[in-house]
Amino acid sequence: MAKMTLADLRALRDAKKVDIKKRATEGKEGRVIIGMGTCGIASGAKVVLDEFLTQLDKYGITNISVTQTGCMGLCSVEPTIEVIVPDMPDIIYGNVDKATVETIVKEHIIGNKLVNDHIIDRPASDIMSDDGDK
């Protein structure tokens, strides 16, 4: 790159800031967790994961991290994902495909509305949450 002017430096910083922010974990308010067990991967969880990253980028959302987890136990409705954002209940969605991802981003994450067609109940409470209740 040739020598920069002040404007060049600012433009470069703004562009790179978006990239590097994705790396930071602090300041993230929400999470999308993708079930990436063998079942999930076989039903296309990887495509879903990539699509989430693309869609979040597209809408300029930087405060949501996308992480992965193992099988949630809902293999019949894979790929499954869990969305955790402020002011909304934690929701598990099933049968998510590439097209559903944009709907979830637009309605659930941006619009604070549930995407009814894909909501799946939690399979069972686990011992960790049982302990917490007592």
């Binding site: 020598k3 430096l9 790179k16 990239d19 067990g37 990253l53 193992g70």
Partner: protein, 596 residues
Amino acid sequence: MAIRNYILVCGGTGCESSHSDEIYQNLLAEAEAQGVGDEVQVVKTGCFGFCEQGPIVKILPEDSFYVQVKPQDAKELISEHIIKGRQVERLLYNIDTLKQKTAKVDDIEFYKKQYRIVLRNCGFIDPENIDEYIARSGYEALEKVLFDMSPDDVIAELKIAGLRGRGGAGFPTWMKWNFTKMQQNEIKYVACNADEGDPGAYMDRSTLEGDPHTVIEGMTICGKTIGAHQGFIYIRAEYPLAIHRLEVAMAQAREYGLLGKDILGSGFDFDIEIRLGAGAFVCGEETALLQSIEGHRGTPQPRPPFPAVKGLWQKPTCLNNVETWANVPVIITRGGAWFNKIGTKDSPGTKVFALTGKVKNSGLVEVPMGTTLREIIYDIGGGIIGGKKFKAVQTGGPSGGMISAENLDTPIDFGGLSAIGSMMGSGSMIVMNEDDCIVDVAKFYLNFSVDESCGKCAPCRIGGRSLLNILEKFTSGNGTHEDIDKIKAISHAMQVGSLCALGQTAPNPLLSSLKWYADEYEAHIVDKKCPAGKCKKLITYVIDPDKCIGCTACARKCPVGAISGEVKKKHTIDASICIKCGACMASCKFDAISVH
């Protein structure tokens, strides 16, 4: 395709020496081989500070913290963590084998009490990529200084911040800058002291290795403020990685027009050259350092004139330490008032320490000033290795003092440490336990100062040697109480008569230990014993006849044939032949040999 995981591999010197580069290469190769090469970004970063547990690999966004990773673990990290989303349990950092394994960095005690200003980018960005520094608000402070602030504004901001020099003496940074600025001279210089020489210190090294641009930016800001166009970084030749990263960073900054002529079109010119030191400790002293940059023998010069008035080639020179420079851009970006709220009134901000010695978690720690020694040693450091008893902590290197258990709750700042007979120094912090002999440690530091004395002035050259001779007497059982008075007299002469801080402060470890560990000196002088069993001339190895079964293991190991005894009969050591190497004790399986 978008990047979904970031793998940060520590590229600090500590981790590099335990094959982190191979881990980095293997991770790249495995990610490619397993088909996720374009979905993960592997980044080699600066030191994470948690050197005890290195090599460190951190995976984001999960924030999983993997320790003691080996090159062959790369395959599993990719196939398990990246592809299947399962953390590799066996590599996660473990606080306590009984507790659940910790996955997230935020949960680790080592990091909980820390606050990273200087090390803000260390372990996060790729130090060889200027874009990553820029993305983390890099060169934003320089923008402000070039276009929005006057030199007086910059100095006022530093004054509000209350930043004090991190090289050890704690001189207010704004004053130093202001003195240099006030000099009327067409040529002025900026210099960076990266001649980190205290035993056990590696703060500056890690800062330069992990975030070289912050120092470059800090120096450029100073250049604009005081009216200098040339900077020098004086760095030890023993820091090849830091030098390499500085060179890369400076080349990138020049390419972007952030160093060189007409920076960012502002009309201001500034560039930096690196000068390598050849390893003399005294060159960390400012006047000796400047002599060395000029190509002369590194010997201290009388002050005044101070470098701010007559420094490099007799021109006004502003010299600061690496850590001081690294604080400057943050103060300018966030404001002096923000900085001033951190730490204590006497010493705002944070301090980086290299925590080493007999603590569980050796490493690089950055804490707000005012944190107590106890918090650093027990909470961050995890306490003493092997459940042994704490004896002393040494701060400030050969110029500092030994701090005893009574003073562990002293809040650390420039004033607090001076009050208990030590000093902040550059940030080495060496923890000692009951196995260490205080007299022996004092001898070690004094020996260091005597070795490194440049010999120019008599109080340091002769005084240091005389003190060392007295300590030799103590450790060989020939000490007397009159020697203690001599120590005090010689020390006083060195403190007031030496030309530079090396000689003035060389007696500190000895004097502070005399004050806090008088018992141990008494044991050496009166009882002719070394309680810790370190001083060879004062100890004897003895075989306990009740425990010895006559296996002959010790007799076979003894290199001088000092052990006699028949098979299956009690053995004895002839003290007149014994050279006290300790080989017998190490070879005994029945715990029958002890030191008296």
